[in-house]
Subunit: 211 residues, 2 copies
DNA sequence: GGCCTTTTGTCAGCGGGCTGACAGACATCA
DNA sequence: TGATGTCTGTCAGCCCGCTGACAAAAGGCC
């Protein structure tokens, strides 16, 4: 029932990845755009290395749909910007090209479908979050979703700045900052450094995330 | 740049529809559920007659993703409830079955992809609306999207109750109601009956929708 | 070490939108 | 025709979260 924000996509994408072996590998530096809404040639790509941020823009506001990790497959045909958060490498393939290849390998016909489904599922998570839950709940969700190794008091890596995190959970930098302070005062989390935080009371965080 | 709420899906779905000709036709009465989140068998279906509402639930809150019209093709594998707003008829096909048929007709391989893309696009519209725009802008958008025949002062059919409309644009019944009153006082819209409204100043409504 | 930029914490003020409550309008049916 | 249930309009009260402003802290770079 929990709907973690931007769950890292399950990658049973091993087979998919092989499809990209022989195609153009593009390198991106930090903050470089891979694609933008007006960009009309739809592509499917495989993120070989680095981290990409997929976001919507509206005036001077920005909302991040998801953060892609190495190993993820995604398509550019959503009405979003895709930007490198750090130096990255992607294998890009034109959508038509991709479809034809997939036809040749019938087992892979479902590949595009799978990517789309994952994306869709992520979007619905996002809608649930925005429509039903307040910032506090979304933050708790996010913190719990960052846990990579389960533990009594797990450590997490905050790889984004406060501003970027705010854009991901749909709030302002200030609100997020004061909320994090509050959580520290309550002893639910502990800041070890800018990047490293400890979650001191996961059960209470879960409860906070639940509603 | 406008992102109308729940745009009625373009149906170049004529070919698609023919795929469903020979399969089970299910009749639904008003308020009957076609599927719900726990329902595990994924289906693709064609709405032959009637109107369906696709919505998310969370506690006692409800958010409508889209309203399906006769002629639309959709799939149940989203984490949503699908309910008949009025007596309806759907042709339902198991997803595996559907995929196999699509394989046999290579031209239709993209059918599932297209449906998923449309759905995804609608979800992103919704996210934009929730993340960036206030209730006033969403309402203006919605009103403009209801116009079927362009005119200086077009008439629109509000086929939903205030409550249902509120759930569609993501607000409360009360807020929507008072907002509609305000628009009337400003002379932007005119209520002819519960169902029929006239949009008196589309350009100003567009402006209101823009930001 | 010192300078400059980016990031973070904090506060006051305000407003959008939710809630609960109630009355009026409308529909349906006996 | 009246009785009952549903839908709609409206108001007061409240709180979440946004904005703008400023200071403190942390990082880069020479």
């Amino acid at each position: 029932m929990t709907a973690p924000i931007s769950p890292h996509q399950q990658h049973s994408n091993q087979q998919l990845a092989s499809l990209f072996d022989d195609c153009h590998c593009r390198r991106l530096v930090s903050n470089e755009l891979l694609s933008y809404p007006q960009d009309m040639d739809d592509c499917v790509f495989y993120l070989r290395r680095g981290r990409l941020r997929v976001y919507l823009c509206y005036g001077d506001k920005l909302f991040t749909l998801t953060i892609l990790q190495a190993g993820d497959v995604y398509s550019t045909h959503t009405r979003a910007f895709i930007e490198a958060l750090e130096p990255s490498e992607v294998n890009v393939m034109d959508l038509n090209n991709f479809s034809q290849r997939a036809l040749a390998h019938p087992l892979l016909t479902g590949a595009v479908t799978r990517v789309l489904s994952q994306t869709l599922s992520g979007c619905i998570d996002t809608i649930e979050n925005l429509a039903f839950r307040d910032v506090r709940a979304r933050l708790a969700s996010y913190l719990l979703a960052q846990v990579s190794q389960p533990a009594e008091q797990p450590l997490i890596n905050m790889q984004l700045t406060t501003e970027q995190t705010a854009q991901l959970i749909g709030t302002s930098r200030q609100t997020l900052s004061s909320l994090l302070s509050e959580l520290q005062r309550q002893g639910l989390v502990q800041k070890l450094s800018r990047q490293q935080w400890r979650l001191c009371d996961c059960s209470q965080l879960s409860q906070m995330a639940a509603l």
